[in-house]
C-alpha cells in the first residue's frame, strides 16, 4: 500500500509538467502579436517594447519557459498586466470563495444523490426506481447555467425568497452567507447529483447480487444491516471515482455560475482578466484550478484503494 501511494504521487509529476507547458503555451496561441493584442494596434513603439520586455516575450521561447517554470516552482505566477499585483495573491484571495461554492454544491448533491441511488437500487424495477432514473436522465441534459437563470426567475424574481446575486461569506455571517450560497450550489448540484445517484444505484445493484450478500441474507441478517454495513462500503468505490471525476465539472462549472450570480471568486477573476486581455492572470487561474483538480483526483484514487481492497497495488 505504501509503495502504491508513493508511486501514485510521483505519477502526478510528469502530468503536471505537461499541464504547465500547455498553460504556458496559451499566450503563444494568440493570433498575431500578443503584445499588440493587449495594447491595441495604436500603441506607441516604446510602449510595445516595454510590454514585450515585461512579459519576457523578447527572449527565446525555451528561456521564457525556463524562467516561468522557475518562478512557478517558487509560487510566483507573475504579475497582472493591469494592476501589477502578484497573480498568486489575487488567486489565493479569491480561491476560498470558489472552493466554498464548489464544496456546498458537492455536499448538497451527495446528500440528495446517495439516498436516492440506494433507494432506487433497493426498489429496483419499481415505479420509484423509474421515477428517479427518469429524473436523472433529465437532470444530466440541462446546462447548469440555464438552471441558474431559471432558479433566479423562480426563487428571486417570483417568490422573492433568495437574493438574485451577490455573495456574503458564510465565515463572516453564516445565515446570511447561506442565503447567498443556496442558488449557486443548487444550480451546480443538480447535474452532479444525477450522475452520482445513477452510479450509486448501479454499483449497489451489482454488490447486492454478490454471493456474500446472498449468504448474509440467507443467514437471516437483517436487511438494513446488510445494506448499510456490507453493501454500502463496497459499493462506494466506483461512486467515489465518479465524484472525483466530476470535481472537474464542478470547478469548471463554478466559473460560469460565479459570473451569473456575481460571486467574487476565481471564475470572476478569469472573466475580468479575459476582458482586459490580462493573460498572466488567465494563465495563473487555469493552472491553479487544474492543479487542485489533479490533486483531488489523486486523493480519490488513493481513497479508492482504501474502499476497495481488491485494487492491486502490484505493477500493472
Amino acid at each position: 500500500m505504501k509503495n502504491y501511494v508513493v508511486r501514485r504521487l510521483f505519477s502526478v509529476i510528469p502530468v503536471l509538467w505537461l499541464v504547465s507547458i500547455l498553460v504556458f503555451g496559451l499566450i503563444h496561441l494568440v493570433p498575431g502579436d500578443p503584445v499588440l493584442v493587449i495594447l491595441g494596434t495604436t500603441a506607441e513603439k516604446d510602449q510595445v517594447e516595454a510590454m514585450r520586455h515585461k512579459l519576457g516575450l523578447n527572449r527565446p521561447i525555451l528561456v521564457q519557459y525556463g524562467s516561468w517554470i522557475g518562478h512557478l516552482l517558487q509560487g510566483d505566477l507573475g504579475h497582472s498586466i493591469i494592476s501589477d499585483e502578484p497573480v498568486m495573491e489575487m488567486i489565493l484571495r479569491r480561491m476560498p470563495t470558489t472552493l466554498t461554492v464548489a464544496a456546498a454544491a458537492l455536499l448538497l448533491s451527495l446528500s440528495i444523490s446517495i439516498p436516492t441511488g440506494i433507494l432506487s437500487a433497493l426498489r429496483h424495477n419499481t415505479y420509484t426506481d423509474y421515477f428517479f432514473m427518469g429524473l436523472v436522465i433529465l437532470a444530466v441534459s440541462m446546462p447548469s447555467f440555464w438552471l441558474a437563470l431559471l432558479f433566479i426567475l423562480l426563487f428571486s424574481v417570483e417568490l422573492k425568497l433568495l437574493p438574485m446575486m451577490g455573495y456574503v461569506s458564510i465565515f463572516a455571517d453564516f445565515w446570511e452567507g447561506l442565503r447567498y450560497l443556496i442558488l449557486p450550489a443548487m444550480s451546480l448540484a443538480f447535474v452532479l447529483a444525477a450522475l452520482v445517484a445513477r452510479m450509486t444505484r448501479s454499483s449497489m445493484l451489482e454488490v447486492l447480487r454478490e454471493d456474500y450478500i446472498v449468504t448474509a441474507l440467507s443467514k437471516g441478517t437483517p436487511r438494513r444491516f446488510i445494506v448499510f454495513k456490507h453493501a454500502l462500503k463496497n459499493a462506494f468505490a466506483p461512486v467515489l471515482t465518479i465524484i472525483g471525476f466530476q470535481i472537474g465539472f464542478l470547478l469548471g462549472g463554478t466559473v460560469v455560475i460565479e459570473d451569473i450570480y456575481s460571486i467574487p471568486g476565481v471564475g470572476r477573476l478569469i472573466f475580468t482578466a479575459i476582458t482586459n486581455r490580462d493573460y498572466p492572470v488567465v494563465q495563473g487561474c487555469i493552472l491553479m484550478v487544474t492543479i487542485i483538480y489533479v490533486f483531488v483526483n489523486t486523493a480519490v484514487d488513493l481513497a479508492y484503494a482504501y474502499f476497495d481492497p481488491r485494487v492491486s497495488f502490484g505493477k500493472k
Binding site: P14, V15, L16, L18, V19, L22, V23, L26, I27, L29, V30, P31, I137, L138, V140, S141, M142, P143, F145, W146, L149, L150, I152, L153, V157, S202, L205, E206, G248, F249, L251, G252, G253, V255, V256, D259, I260, I270, F271, I274, Y279, V282, Q283, I286, V289, T290, Y293, V294, N297
Partner: protein, 274 residues
C-alpha cells in the same frame, strides 16, 4: 441481431428520434422557420409568446422560434464536427500507442492524461480567450478537449485485442502494421467508440452553449442557443421566454444524444449495461 436489439430499446429509439428530428430541422431550417431569424423589428420587441410568435420575440423583435430552429444548425455542426475531428486524432494516437507500446505509448498516454487533467469547461474558456471568437475556433477547442476521451477508449481496445490469436495469425502471414491496425484491430474498438462519440456530441453542445453564453463562442448576431441565453439573461424579468426556450432546445438536444448513447451502450456493449 444488433438492429433488432436496438429497436427493442425504447430509450435509444427516443434518442434516435430526437437526433433525426434535429438533423432534419437544421437542414431544413431555411424552409420551416416562419420568420427570418436575423430580422430586427423594433416595434415587435420582447413580445410574449402568441399565435404569431410561438416562442415570443427578443429585445430586437426577432422571432425566437425561428432563431431556436436556426440555432440547431450551429449546435449540431459544432457538436458533430468537433467530435469527428477530436475522435480522428484520438483514434490515431490511441491506436499507435496501444499497438506499438513502449516509450511511444508512454508519451502518448502522458499527453492524453495531461489534456484530460484540465476541467473541460475551463480549458475551453482558456483556449477561446486566446484564439478569439468564431465557429471554427470553437470546433478546434472542443476537438482538442475531446481527444483524450477517444484516444483512451481506442488504446484500451487495441491493447486487449493486440495479443489475440487472429491478430497474431495475420501478423504471421505478413500483414503490415497499418493493415493490421485498420482491418483487424480498429473495427473491434468501434463499439465503445460509437458510444463515447455519441455522448461526446452532447458534451460538446453543452460546452459550446456555455462558451457562447459567456460571450466566448459564436459571435452575435448568429443565433446560437448559448448567446440567445446570454441575451435572455439581461431581460430575465421582462421577457423570461427569451431564456426558457433556447435552454429547452439545448436540454432537448443533449437529452437526445445522451439517451441515444446510453441505448447504444446497452446494445453494443452488454458488459457495460446498467
Amino acid at each position: 441481431m444488433f438492429v433488432k436489439r436496438f429497436f427493442r430499446n425504447k430509450l435509444s429509439l427516443f434518442g434516435l428520434a430526437i437526433v433525426i428530428a434535429l438533423v432534419l430541422v437544421s437542414f431544413l431550417s431555411g424552409y420551416v422557420q416562419p420568420y427570418d431569424p436575423l430580422k430586427i423589428s423594433i416595434s415587435n420587441r420582447t413580445q410574449a409568446p402568441s399565435k404569431a410568435h410561438t416562442f415570443g420575440t427578443d429585445h430586437f423583435g426577432r422571432d425566437i422560434f425561428s432563431r431556436v430552429l436556426s440555432g440547431a444548425k450551429i449546435s449540431l455542426t459544432v457538436g458533430i464536427v468537433s467530435v469527428a475531428l477530436g475522435a480522428l486524432i484520438g483514434i490515431v494516437l490511441g491506436a499507435i500507442g496501444g499497438y506499438f507500446g513502449g516509450w511511444l505509448d508512454y508519451v502518448i498516454t502522458l499527453i492524453l492524461d495531461a489534456i484530460i487533467s484540465f476541467p473541460a469547461t475551463l480549458l475551453a474558456i482558456g483556449l477561446m480567450s486566446v484564439m478569439g471568437l468564431g465557429v471554427a475556433n470553437i470546433i478546434i477547442a472542443l476537438a482538442f478537449i475531446g481527444i483524450p476521451h477517444y484516444g483512451r477508449v481506442v488504446r484500451g481496445a487495441v491493447l486487449s485485442i493486440r495479443e489475440k490469436e487472429y491478430v497474431e495469425a495475420a501478423r504471421a502471414s505478413g500483414s503490415g502494421h497499418l493493415k493490421l491496425i485498420l482491418i483487424h484491430v480498429l473495427p473491434n474498438a468501434m463499439a465503445p467508440l460509437i458510444v463515447v462519440t455519441t455522448i461526446g456530441v452532447a458534451n460538446a453542445i453543452l460546452i459550446e452553449a456555455a462558451l457562447s453564453f459567456l460571450g466566448l463562442g459564436v459571435p452575435p448576431p448568429a443565433p446560437s442557443w448559448g448567446n440567445m441565453l446570454a441575451d435572455g439573461r439581461n431581460f430575465l424579468t421582462q421577457a423570461p421566454w427569451m431564456t426558457i426556450f433556447p435552454g429547452l432546445a439545448i436540454s432537448f438536444t443533449v437529452l437526445g444524444f445522451n439517451t441515444l448513447g446510453d441505448g447504444l451502450r446497452d446494445v453494443l456493449d452488454p458488459k457495460l449495461k446498467q
